[in-house]
Amino acid sequence: MKRDMDNLNLRDAFRPMPEETRDALMSAARSVKEDEPVKKAAFRTVLIAACVIVATMAVAMAAGQIFGWNDFFKKDYGADIPKTAQEIMATCEPVSWQEGDVAFTVRERYSDSRLAMISVEARLADGVKGILAADDFTEAIGAYGENSAAVAKQLGVDPSMTWVEAAKELNLPLYSVRATLEIPSELWGSEAYEDPMFNDDGSLTYFSLQPLNGQISGEEIKARVYLRTKLVNLEDVEDDTNVTKEYVDLPIHTEKAIATAEYIVPEGTKVLDAFQIDSIHAELLPSGLHFTTNLTALEGATQDMALDKLMVKIVKENGDDYPTGITLSSGFSNLDTWPQIPYTQMISVDQIPETIHLVFPDGSGNDTMLVLQLKK
């Protein structure tokens, strides 16, 4: 028998906490003493991938302005996209299509050897009234935080209300849209991401980014955009009768690297006593600085160790993080070249630093730190 996914209560998947476990937990809590010293870690706590700021920044918008990539990045990650990439994106000619009652316009597009990204404005066509949502229309409107809570306020509903509930209450049609960048799979790097931001005029901007593997530079990518519009059946949200979708071609030129460099790694430098650092390459792109740390797994090192423990963090001299790179990812997407491991990451800066500080956390506070100089 098919289950009603919208009315599943996931808490029913768990048995109640046994009293013995509750007693043990509360006993531990009551055992703490006010005068116990606070433990200081040797290094700052290391964050994996990007840093999500819980207290989001309020973004002030002039009426009629449409959110772009820099707004998206600044809102969630507190950093600007490097100026060079912003300038390239600003020169893009908009390209538009219509899918059903929704007009899609690619406002920004950019690519280099390490990523391809677009932002697409989705807007109800002239004369069409309704509410525009992304693809998670059964979620609370306020689930995205301040940005989507503002939509609830404009609609005059509580942000805890779902999009479907709001459409029913206001007696308005509900449109769900998606606009994602599709890149040939042979160019893929790490995990792609997509997300919307809601503009104050009822439209939304859909952001889509695919990290690339460095194999293309200075050429054109035969990219496509997947456009999907669904007029939601408010009584049966699974009904896909009113869905229109298509793939449209969107060639994107890949920008070349501005500069490349290598750092001096003392011979025999090891991490976790299991991995040797062979080299560290830096590639300065308009979108930021991309690092590849090439390691070799030594005898006794296992892939589990690499997956569980191997982390390379590049920090400033004072230990602070650099602004996170646009790809929002670091690490290795697979171990196909074992025992060679290329560990990649990006930071959002416009220059190659003369000196870099690397931190290799071992998970117990005893981190290894290396200071490396640029090879002249």
């Binding site: 098919k2 289950r3 996914m5 599943l8 209560n9 996931l10 808490r11 029913d12 998947a13 768990f14 048995r15 109640p16 906490m17 046994p18 013995e20 476990t21 509750r22 043990a24 937990l25 509360m26 006993s27 531990a28 809590a29 009551r30 055992s31 703490v32 003493k33 006010e34 116990e36 606070v38 433990k39 706590t45 964050l47 994996i48 991938a49 990007a50 999500v52 819980v54 989001t56 969630d76 693809d135 998670d136 306020g142 689930a143 995205y144 935080g145 995990e191 792609a192 991401y193 997509e194 997300d195 952001f207 589990d304 569980d308 929002l328 998970g363």
Partner: protein
């Protein structure tokens, strides 16, 4: 943060902590150990909590890290009494089995958002992943959960 506040918050979060730890470790003995370790670790690091209103997400993050440490320690040798058991005493055993069949990467975001009511921002902060990645995993997780439930 004073001791009284800490104890009160742990009591408030206790059921949530149990469900999160169970969804990773799936073994009562390990869950009990992880809960106690996480509480003691949280007290040690109490100066890291920026504002008391973020206690729940902060505590959840510490608990998840402790659960992963426990998993790593037990990966090589799994005594018979520590092999994960099915949660047949849950109110909805079919749902419990379907959830447990999911890979952890997809299971945990579902638990945080749909069992514990965290927002995307809170869950992404707890898991230290971008919100966009979280949403992708929620989408895939729901699809896989539906497949598991339909298969029963």
């Amino acid at each position: 943060m004073d001791r009284g506040f800490f104890i009160a918050e742990i009591e408030t979060c206790s059921d949530m902590m149990y469900r999160v730890a169970w969804s990773i470790l799936r073994n009562e003995a390990d869950v009990q150990d992880a809960l106690q370790d996480a509480v003691l670790k949280a007290w040690e690091k109490r100066d890291k909590l920026r504002e008391e209103k973020y206690f729940r997400t902060w505590m959840t993050r510490i608990l998840i890290n402790v659960c992963y440490d426990t998993q790593r320690m037990h990966r090589k040798i799994v005594p018979l009494d520590k092999i994960p058991v099915q949660n047949t005493s849950a109110p909805d055993p079919d749902l419990a089995m379907a959830l447990e069949a999911l890979p952890e990467k997809l299971r945990l975001p579902l638990v945080l958002c749909y069992s514990e009511g965290m927002t995307y921002e809170e869950a992404a902060d707890v898991l230290r992943i971008p919100m966009t990645t979280l949403r992708g995993r929620l989408r895939r997780g729901k699809k896989e959960l539906r497949k598991e439930l339909d298969a029963e």
